[in-house]
């Protein structure tokens, strides 16, 4: 599965996955978020079938953002077995996200 776009229900389903789950919290009025977009898409393609990579729009799903205590975007959260194992706030070099995925597959 390539890049997914999750609403609350979609995310609830994805988070039960045994695979690593990567969630990018973003909004279209946020320049840095849009800048990070291609990097997240690339992760989704590179780890297709090994990890589930998706985006949550904080405007469309504010309660999901609140649930995760998102206070600044972009924030990328990494989950395994439904539990948060890491998060990165702000725009980081692509290798940072890639490294976290590889370590946690």
């Amino acid at each position: 599965m390539a890049l997914e776009h999750w609403n609350a229900a979609g995310f609830a389903e994805a988070s039960t996955s045994d695979q690593l789950v990567v969630v990018d919290f973003w909004a279209d009025w946020c320049g840095p978020c849009r800048m990070l977009g291609p990097t997240v898409e690339e992760l989704a393609e590179r780890y297709d079938g090994k990890a589930r990579v998706g985006k949550v729009n904080v405007d469309a799903d504010p309660e999901l953002a609140r649930h995760f205590g998102i206070m600044s975007i972009p924030t990328v959260v990494f989950l395994k077995g439904g539990k948060e194992i890491a998060r990165k706030v702000g725009v980081m070099p692509a290798a940072v996200y890639d490294g976290l995925v590889r370590e946690n597959l």
């Binding site: 320049g31 800048m35 953002a65 206070m71 706030v89 702000g90 070099p93």
Partner: protein
């Protein structure tokens, strides 16, 4: 479009880089804060700019900006937020916009003073540098805006318009940011105020906040004789590379950075 050269900073270094990039026929986009936020704007007299003794800061800065505009550089008043490479292209975000370029010149000035107590610990946990990015997350909640720029009040108004309960402090002193895992308030001049978020709006942004992975030493960007940083295609000039904090030094470094960036753009544009 993909610009040949993206420049962050509208002071002598950035504007000089723009003029010299244009002189080599390169497309140039420069992001700047309003001129009144530039430290040179506050200089009543500049005595050591060669050939122009006694010129005022605003005169000098205005002439620099007119020159850069006349050279064909595109200048936009936007707060640069972050940059990242994707392949050979540099992406630069300015507020809600994203720009692409073959090379990047950092000329965003020196960050004066230390981080506030609590600032680094609570960054991304209620401390934010970007009203347009994070404001929407705090609709209907208490936010404090601490501004050290001419344009800060405008950003406070933006937050009010989207529905935040805003308290604005112009150039506050004695500030401490409070909270354990997340911001709970601020202390300004000994008075505590409750807040879910604190927006810090300063004239200069730390180069490493703009570009994680950039090599710095004692807060100054590390550069070689070509004004090249440790990151491929990224050059730096002016106060952000260290002192002396003088317009002539900045303009000279900007010239070199503009030429180096032009050369880099040629190399990657084949």
């Amino acid at each position: 479009m993909t610009y040949d050269i993206l420049i962050v900073g509208g002071g002598p270094a950035g504007l000089s880089a723009a003029v010299n990039g244009r002189a080599r026929g390169k497309s140039v986009l420069l992001l700047s804060s309003p001129m009144a936020d530039n430290p040179l704007w506050k200089a009543e007299r500049v005595e050591n700019y060669l050939g122009l003794p006694g010129v005022t800061g605003p005169e000098l800065l205005g002439a620099f900006r007119r020159h850069a505009k006349a050279s064909g550089a595109e200048i936009r008043e936007l707060r640069a937020l972050s940059a990242m490479p994707v392949g050979e292209t540099w992406y630069l975000s300015g507020e809600e916009h994203v720009f692409e370029g073959r090379s990047l010149v950092l000329a965003a000035g020196a960050v004066r003073g230390k981080a506030l107590p609590g600032e680094e610990r609570l960054l991304g946990r209620g401390v934010s540098y970007c009203a347009t990015c994070d404001g929407m997350l705090y609709r209907g909640r208490d936010v404090v805006v601490l501004g050290w720029t001419e344009s800060a009040e405008r950003e406070a108004d933006f937050l009010r318009r989207i529905g935040c309960a805003v308290r604005f402090h112009d150039r506050p002193q004695g500030v401490e940011i409070l909270g354990e895992d997340a911001v709970t308030g601020v202390r300004v001049n000994g008075r505590e105020e409750k807040a879910d978020a604190v927006f810090l709006l300063r004239p200069a942004v730390a180069p490493t906040a703009l570009l994680p992975g950039l090599a710095v030493e004692n807060g100054a960007v590390t550069v070689d004789r070509n004004m090249a940083t440790n990151l491929p295609g990224v050059f730096a000039a002016g106060d952000c590379t260290g002192g002396p904090y003088q317009a002539a030094k900045a303009a000279g470094e900007g010239l070199i950075a503009g030429q180096s960036a032009a050369k880099w753009a040629d190399r990657t544009n084949q």
